[in-house]
Amino acid sequence: MANINKINGVSGFQGTDFDDCEKISLYGLRNYIDKMFVASPSGSAYNVQPASSANSPFATVKNFECGHAYIFFRAGAESSWSVFNIPHFEQGNITNNNNKLVTTLFPEHFTIEGKGEFHLTSGVNDPGSGSKAWYQTMPVYKTLDSSLKCWYNGSSYVISSRVGNTSSSVLNNSFLPNAPYGDAKTSSATVEVSGFTGGSENANGLYAEVGYVNRKILYRHAKTGDFYYFFNGQTWVLTDTPINVNSGACYVNGEADVNGKLDNSGGSNGNCFDGQTANVSDGSMDPRSLATEDEDSLMSTEDKLKVLITEDDM
């Protein structure tokens, strides 16, 4: 939360990772805020929204939304200003704000084998494509020499020479731009989650690096973007809520190492992974080391090991 002091102009970012970020009604703050500015999806303008009309069905901006940056100006005469609070908001005016940084939910840059290094952009500005901050409401990436673009087509990230043009393109069938494109590997760190069953099965699969939290990599479910795997300072946790396990989050705790077991087999702790276990591997360990004969869901069995290592080989 941020206490907004008696100053005219305020800039800031909605969403801190230590609490459960929620959108905050702009109309509800109309007694304190005159107008709010936010970058337009066009990439060439700012949307300006008077707080007093933010409840209109035609309002462009109705809320402080998580993961967005805003500028706003105070309402009324300076003599009438009072301190007020915007939950989950972090001020960005020049001041000593303890060097607070963004944990990104999309990668800042990555390299795809055989294609090059891609960088997050402020948007598309191609001849023929016009100017847009996003494409299909997703970030756009490009190589430094602009020869290749990486963009979302509505169901997959695509690498091609122009945004929206699929000629000579490759797809990764992923919500994230830095998941592997077929055999073309990614420079981003990845982990594989396996073993969830039933209604939790959609949390299985590849997770790719999107940022850092608590000085460790933050992984995001590559196929859907719906789950996050992060280090909370003591243990790794898989959650559907960036980036915490506060009220309402669907989560399961892991171990102190990135590789290991996600375990909620002991029953109910009030979330949707109740009774579930799964394994996480970043590929740096032999998955056979996760197996025990007592477990119900073995990653390998003695029979399978015989295929790889026979007594004759010993």
Binding site: N8, G9, V10, S11, G12, F13, G15, T16, D17, F18, C21, F37, A39, S40, G43, S44, A45, Y46, T60, V61, E65, C66, G67, H68, A69, I71, R74, E90, G92, N93, I94, N97, N98, N99, K100, L101, V102, T103, T104, L105, E108, H109, H119, T121, S122, G123, V124, S131, A133, W134, T137, M138, P139, K142, L144, S146, G211, V213, R215, P242
Partner: protein, 129 residues
């Protein structure tokens, strides 16, 4: 790094990563003027004409919007009156943990490592210590 490709961009400087965040000196990166008024090219390699197309704005502690651009550099960087030199020095670097909005009307991409652009429609992240 982020590539500024659009004419308007609003975002946060400083991301959690494998390396610590470092402030970025704007006059060292995009250029300035020496005491005799000659343009000094910055690390970005932009020409004077190109660099004049950038304005990087922030909010001062007083709540006033304030720009950095070559016009400010030219007027105040080497001004004989020290209080006027301070006008450009109060905002001549991108500090970790601050908000900025950028106007760029050039045709190249501006490379600003550590800048996270935002716009309506996409949840780009969370802020933390």
């Amino acid at each position: 790094m982020a590539l500024i490709t659009t004419s308007k961009s609003l975002g946060w400087y400083g991301v959690h990563g494998s390396d610590d965040c470092e402030p970025m000196s704007l006059h060292e990166h995009f250029g300035t003027y020496n005491s005799s008024g000659s343009f000094q090219i910055g690390k970005s390699g932009l020409s004077e004409t190109e660099a004049k197309l950038i304005s990087i704005w922030t909010m001062l502690p007083t709540g006033s919007a304030w720009p950095w651009n070559l016009n400010m550099e030219q007027k105040y960087r080497n001004h004989p009156i020290s209080s006027l030199r301070e006008l450009v020095k109060q905002h001549d670097e991108m500090k970790c943990g601050q908000m900025y909005w950028i106007t760029w009307t050039g045709t190249k991409d501006l490379n600003i490592p550590g800048f996270v652009p935002t716009a309506l429609g996409v949840d780009m992240g969370r802020i933390s210590d």
